[in-house]
């Protein structure tokens, strides 16, 4: 990582001068404080890459090894930095390769601007070489998209793109620029977008609803908070903590809400959802007030909606979705939480909290003990995560992929500060973690970044080791290798009579592969070697690869079977 420090003053982005569309794109990026972009060149975007070459002192371009990697890296960057991630690709296959990352950013509300080259405007619709209708393809998975055919459109559309990507519920925007528009000369002048008349990203707080919300909170005997990523995206961590502490209400997180409140906070009662903790899942169906903050009641959180929190009143902050709210405060939760905290009185719910404690004891006995302090021979995923905790002390950014390792990492990783959990939640994109870790580290260069990945997902984007090597991104890569697509295997075991259809993997020598990219690499096969290996990995100041050979057929529990009620959570 070098040279991506912002040196804005060399060329001011606001001069009205005659430049090419391609140069305008670069100047727009600089004006939006995007001095780090990920991408992959090709025919239809070459004019922009030519300008990137000229502006390389001000704008650092990271060459990934696949366009999908560029989107995930941009996502990782956005998630740890809070800024808009930027990904560049050429037309045709370059553009279609972005789609998975765009869909992931859309469902997980990640601010991202993707810029694709397009064939010259006179060729549009003619099946020209590397022509694809990326506007049509990306429409269902973008917050907004636009095709530019004239250079004069570039400043306004780019300004709009960044405004839309970062405001309201953030999301991905795709701008497709024809090659002739990139070459065309025009008078450039950049004005930041301050609003769009058909788009209201910040609805005001409704004071009547605030009163109703206060009434619900004041009357509740067994209130329960479930929070999501809205707390992080709204930069409302302080307001959220103040609300939780003053109200004394136990709170649990969705997978994307993780790290908004420190893991060891006494009122942080764990994760809800399919592989969440026992107490918060069961007590969802016992609370009398469910306060949902910055979350959307995804099906993996609620299980069967017809048996979800039916006994409770529902207060929903930020949106009103999926579960009908008795009161909804539709505004940034930073505003509503502040207003609520001001008006509520300090409270504690000791009897209600004891219910959580009692259920925690059961989960600890039946699940956690075996995960973290196993007596059987094979290394567990849980003890691997616990070992990472031992060395990072909860200060690291943990990037996870999708599957068993993801659930285990989210259950057991410790977090002291926000924006520390980077994972593919809504879309469940295998292959997310390795490129996302690159972006996560570049978005938070001072922090330790540990990517925890399964052997399946790792091989979906393994080529990004090349990016890590070329850029010398000091990420720590941990592969929890069970030679299986573990989560699917677990379902096959539980629901398909152990018919392990295409889930067993014959894996390569991962250490040799990492070494091929000149990345320091180790393998751990025995429990007694785990501690020191993790220690060496965290102590290293360079990229480091660690393969941990874990027990092959361990399952993740607790588990709410797909479509079942949260009350039907299984411990074994």
């Amino acid at each position: 990582m070098k040279n991506h420090k912002n040196k804005k003053n060399q060329k001011s982005p606001n001069d009205s001068i005659t430049i090419s569309g391609a140069e305008a794109v670069v100047r727009c990026l600089l004006a939006e404080d995007a001095n780090l972009v990920y991408g992959y060149p090709g025919g239809a975007i070459m004019p922009i890459y030519d300008e990137l070459y000229k502006y390389k002192d001000q704008l650092h371009h990271v060459l990934t090894r696949h366009e999908q990697g560029a989107t995930h890296a941009a996502q990782g960057f956005a998630r740890t930095s809070g800024k808009v991630g930027v990904a560049l690709a050429t037309s045709g296959p370059g553009a279609t390769n972005l789609v998975t990352g765009i869909a992931d950013a859309q469902i997980d509300s990640t601010p991202m601007v993707c810029i694709t080259g397009q064939v010259a405007s006179h060729l549009l619709g003619s099946d020209a070489f590397q022509e694809t209708d990326i506007i049509g393809i990306s429409t269902p998975v973008t917050k907004w998209n636009y095709q530019i055919t004239k250079a004069s459109e570039i400043p306004e559309i780019m300004a709009k793109a960044f405004y839309i990507a970062r405001s309201g519920r953030p999301g991905p925007v795709l701008i497709d620029i024809t090659k002739d528009a990139q070459f065309e000369m025009f008078d450039f002048n950049y004005v930041k977008c301050r609003g769009i008349r058909s788009y209201w990203p910040n609805p005001p707080l409704n004071t009547n609803h605030l009163e109703e919300a206060l009434k619900l909170i004041n009357e509740a005997k067994k209130p329960f908070i479930v929070w999501g990523q809205g707390v992080i995206l709204g930069q409302a961590e302080q307001e959220f903590k103040a609300f939780v502490e003053k109200s004394g209400i136990p709170a649990a997180w969705t997978i994307l809400g993780l790290s908004a409140l420190p893991t060891d906070h006494p009122l942080n009662r764990g994760m809800v959802g399919m592989h969440g903790n026992y107490a918060p899942n069961l007590l969802t169906n016992e609370c009398d007030l469910l306060i949902a903050i910055g979350m959307r009641f995804d099906d993996r959180v609620t299980g069967d909606l017809n048996t979800y929190a039916k006994q409770a009143k529902v207060l929903h902050l930020e949106v009103n979705k999926n579960v009908k709210a008795d009161v909804a405060l539709i505004t940034n939760c930073k505003i509503s939480l502040k207003a609520l905290t001001k008006r509520i009185s300090k409270n504690t719910f000791s009897k209600w909290l004891k219910r959580f404690d009692a259920l925690d004891v059961i989960e600890n006995e039946k699940v956690i003990k075996g995960d973290l302090f196993p007596i059987k021979q094979g290394i567990t995923m849980g003890e691997s995560i616990a070992m990472i905790n031992k060395y990072t002390k909860g200060d690291a950014v943990i990037v996870t992929d999708v599957g068993q390792h993801q659930m285990v990492a989210c259950r057991y990783a410790k977090f002291n500060q926000s924006k520390s959990n980077v994972t593919s939640g809504g879309l469940g994109t295998m292959g997310f973690a390795l490129p996302a870790a690159i972006g996560a580290k570049m978005g938070a260069p001072a922090r330790e970044v540990v990517a925890v990945i399964g052997d399946g997902g790792y091989q979906m984007t393994i080529q990004e080791l090349g990016t890590i090597f070329q850029q010398q991104v000091a990420v720590k890569i941990v592969i929890l290798n069970n030679d299986f697509l573990g989560m699917v295997r677990q379902w096959q075991q539980l629901f398909f009579d152990k018919r392990y259809a295409s889930t067993e993997m014959t894996n390569p020598d991962f250490v040799t592969i990492a070494k091929g990219y000149h990345i320091e690499a180790e393998r751990v096969e025995k429990r007694e070697d785990l501690d020191q290996a993790v220690g060496r990995m965290i102590a290293s100041e360079k990229p480091f690869f660690l393969e941990i050979c874990v027990e092959k057929e361990n399952n993740v529990f607790p588990m709410i079977p797909s479509g079942a009620s949260v009350s039907d959570i299984r411990l074994e």
Partner: protein
């Protein structure tokens, strides 16, 4: 919940691709449209979509929320038939010889309050505006004479209640 006919009215910017975004919302939920029409609205540069679907009340609510989330959509509403004034428009092309040889056709046109748009030596065109049953009845009545062409527009409708789009746009203007 029981299905009902709803008219969705969408006020939007006139931007390329918005039609695609709106139809994608229906596609995603596997919903077939009864009718769809679009035109400029009472406000310059603001377009209006009128979409008719047969669906349950909870679903129509969610769909309208999704439509409203689109960046280029100013506001979307949904109404039942009782809450709107609506019409459809149909054109019927018939061989001209029938008009003179079959007195019955003249009676049908008169009775249905349809109008003759054009007459040429080969064909003539009848136009009828009204409810679906009315344009449909005329089609049935004319079909024994061999309709050369028949086409019916999507529903167009205005609501009994006010929609307040100008107010929304003015609020934006004053705040920015």
């Amino acid at each position: 919940m029981e299905k009902k006919t709803y008219t969705i009215s969408v006020y939007s910017e006139n931007n390329v691709g918005l039609l695609n975004r709106i139809s994608a919302i229906f596609l995603k939920r596997h919903i077939n449209l009864e009718s769809f029409s679009t035109s400029e609205s009472e406000i310059p540069n603001v377009f209006r979509f009128v979409i008719v679907i047969n669906i349950t009340p909870d679903k129509v609510h969610k769909i309208v929320q999704q439509i409203e989330k689109q960046i280029d959509v100013i506001k979307a509403y949904y109404h039942t038939d009782e809450e709107t004034i609506f019409q459809e428009n149909a054109l019927y092309k018939v061989k001209s010889s029938f008009l003179f040889e079959e007195r019955q056709i003249q009676n049908i046109i008169k009775a249905s309050h349809a109008t003759i748009v054009t007459v040429s030596p080969e064909f003539f065109v009848i136009e009828k505006t009204g409810f679906r049953e009315e344009t449909e009845q005329l089609r049935k009545d004319l079909s024994p004479f061999g309709l050369l062409q028949f086409v019916r527009s999507g529903r167009i409708s205005v609501t009994k209640a006010k929609m307040g789009i100008s107010e929304i746009l003015n609020t934006f203007k004053n705040n920015n």
